[in-house]
Symmetry: C2
Subunit: 148 residues, 2 copies
Amino acid sequence: MNVEKILKTDKKMPLESRTLIHLSLVHNKVGDIINSTLRPFEVSTQQFNVLRILRGQKGKPANLSTLNERMVTKMSNTTRLVDKLILKEYVDRTVCPSNRRKVEIRITEKGEKVLLQMDAAMSNAEKEILENLTESDLKNFNELLDKF
Amino acid sequence: MNVEKILKTDKKMPLESRTLIHLSLVHNKVGDIINSTLRPFEVSTQQFNVLRILRGQKGKPANLSTLNERMVTKMSNTTRLVDKLILKEYVDRTVCPSNRRKVEIRITEKGEKVLLQMDAAMSNAEKEILENLTESDLKNFNELLDKF
DNA sequence: CTACAATTATTGTATATACAAATGTAAGAA
DNA sequence: TTCTTACATTTGTATATACAATAATTGTAG
């Protein structure tokens, strides 16, 4: 990915701005690939993330705040995100008996099943996205990301 | 930025997935800072980008496809993005006389003026975002981004 | 010249997201 | 108890974005 070519400019950009633009371009490219990987399953990236988090709970239900902590979205969106997953019967939501302000969200059998299929597709997508990076590149890259 | 801490998990993630999540987290953080930097000026990041591109044209008008090429948005959104900038009187749009399918979009005096103020704010934001990265980090980082 | 295809931009519509306000529940003080 | 405050989630609303359909103009084959 060449920034100048994509932006169709030959102007010399300051390294700082160039870095942030570059980051954005890469993020977009990655996002596009992930979106189109998940499209056949009719879930968004965020919905996929919710499903993964719920599976990680290993039966233990998650409430909205927990989901929120581990995601990028805002609270209000998480509610509606879960609404959509419920419609697809991938998760269920019940009021928490010990504290009725809270909700308990769990992945369903059906949810687990489709999630497995998504995993396979996503794993391929990841390989495709990162095909030009060696393991040492990846480590290096993560270290740099840590500095942000 | 520590991925595991942010996701509040102690699970060992595969390096590949971790990298993509890490990238997303950093991108979000950067986006948040940029958004709040631009908020006082009541423009979105995309609107800011349009203004910068138009200034780069140095008087030469840009049409929608040109803007599009240099941005991440879709065509239809660019139309509405420009609509909003016109409302603020930061740009103007006229039908291209030589090819009436096209439009000519220019930054106005007023637009140039506020853009200068935004530049100053953004330059500070950039410094803040990148304060922990050395010049060699930045070069290194850009090289790695090129591999995506 | 006419008909059809290609180009450029806009509009319609559904979905997504941000932010603030509202709802319902719990916990603590007077 | 009742009042107040804090908590967890949901709803309302404005704005943003994606994608498909449409409109307007130009280019071109016959």
